[in-house]
């Protein structure tokens, strides 16, 4: 059997990689995808715990996470489309209207 903590370490690595991608990429869509990666890493952890504790609550939570991720992706991509239309660029560093 695969020990639980193997899954957890894998989850941690995937999460870290998602964070690195989030910090390094300049394309908005790619950043968004890295967020999805992070969510998946978390899902993995949930399922691993669900199996370890022999309860199904973890998997129910995973379902909810997937639903929320779907909704978030829909709305987020909609925003990205609007931004891309306005700024003519998908480079996140061009979206700097936050600067004073």
């Amino acid at each position: 059997m695969v020990p639980t903590h193997y899954y957890l370490i894998l989850s941690a690595i995937l999460f870290g990689l998602g964070v690195v991608a989030f910090m390094f990429r300049r394309n908005i869509i790619t950043i968004f995808m890295s967020i999805e990666l992070m969510l998946n890493a978390v899902n993995l952890a949930f399922v691993a715990f669900s199996r370890a504790l022999n309860k199904l609550d973890g998997q129910v939570f995973v379902l909810f996470v997937i639903v929320v991720a779907a909704a978030e992706a829909a709305v987020g991509l909609g925003i990205i489309i609007v931004i891309a239309r306005n700024r003519q660029s998908l480079n996140v560093e061009r979206v700097d209207l936050l600067k004073l």
Binding site: H5, A21, L53, L56, I66, V68, A70
Partner: protein, 167 residues
């Protein structure tokens, strides 16, 4: 070294390679495809753990709907290769160390606490979908109904956002 462990390592390698590829690819479409690889691998891992329903949902919803959405948007926006601007010095310098630190922390925390996780006896059977459904519609019915609202609002939002502005 038994079969589950080998399968685990193969799938884990696929996940990690896919994630690294996500970081390193220049064209967003390649990043999207790498992400799909990661998700499929994760679905495999779920199956390995006996969560068949979750694995199925992962493929159908995540891989089949969300990633397709991503690909559609990339196509729609004609996203090309990224420009190489570097306006944020901070991200350049601090990025990798921070990521490594994060990973290190979490992994180390997990590794050191491996004795703490109380592992119940593994039945070795797959989780029954029926039990999952019972749980979902009895104990978690309230969040379940709320998510339907959430989806509705998301749909509305997406429609409003994506409209072209009429003159």
């Amino acid at each position: 070294m038994n079969a589950p462990l080998i399968i685990f390592f193969v799938l884990a390698a696929m996940c990690v390679l896919g994630a690294i590829s996500l970081i390193l690819q220049r064209h967003p479409i390649h990043s999207a495809l790498s992400l799909i690889v990661v998700m499929v691998a994760l679905a495999g891992l779920y199956l390995l753990m006996g969560a068949e329903f979750v694995a199925a949902v992962q493929i159908i919803v995540y891989g089949g709907a969300i990633m397709v959405l991503f690909v559609f948007v990339i196509m729609l926006l004609n996203a090309g290769v990224e420009e190489r601007t570097n306006l944020s010095k901070l991200a350049g310098f601090a990025g990798i160390p921070l990521g490594v630190a994060l990973m290190g922390f979490l992994a180390a925390a997990v590794a050191r606490s491996q004795d703490m996780v109380q592992v119940a006896t593994q039945t070795g059977t797959a989780a029954p979908t029926k039990a999952l459904a019972n749980l979902l519609f009895q104990d978690f019915v309230y969040p379940f109904e709320l998510t339907s609202f959430l989806i509705l609002i998301a749909i509305l939002g997406a429609i409003v956002l994506a409209q072209r502005e009429n003159a």
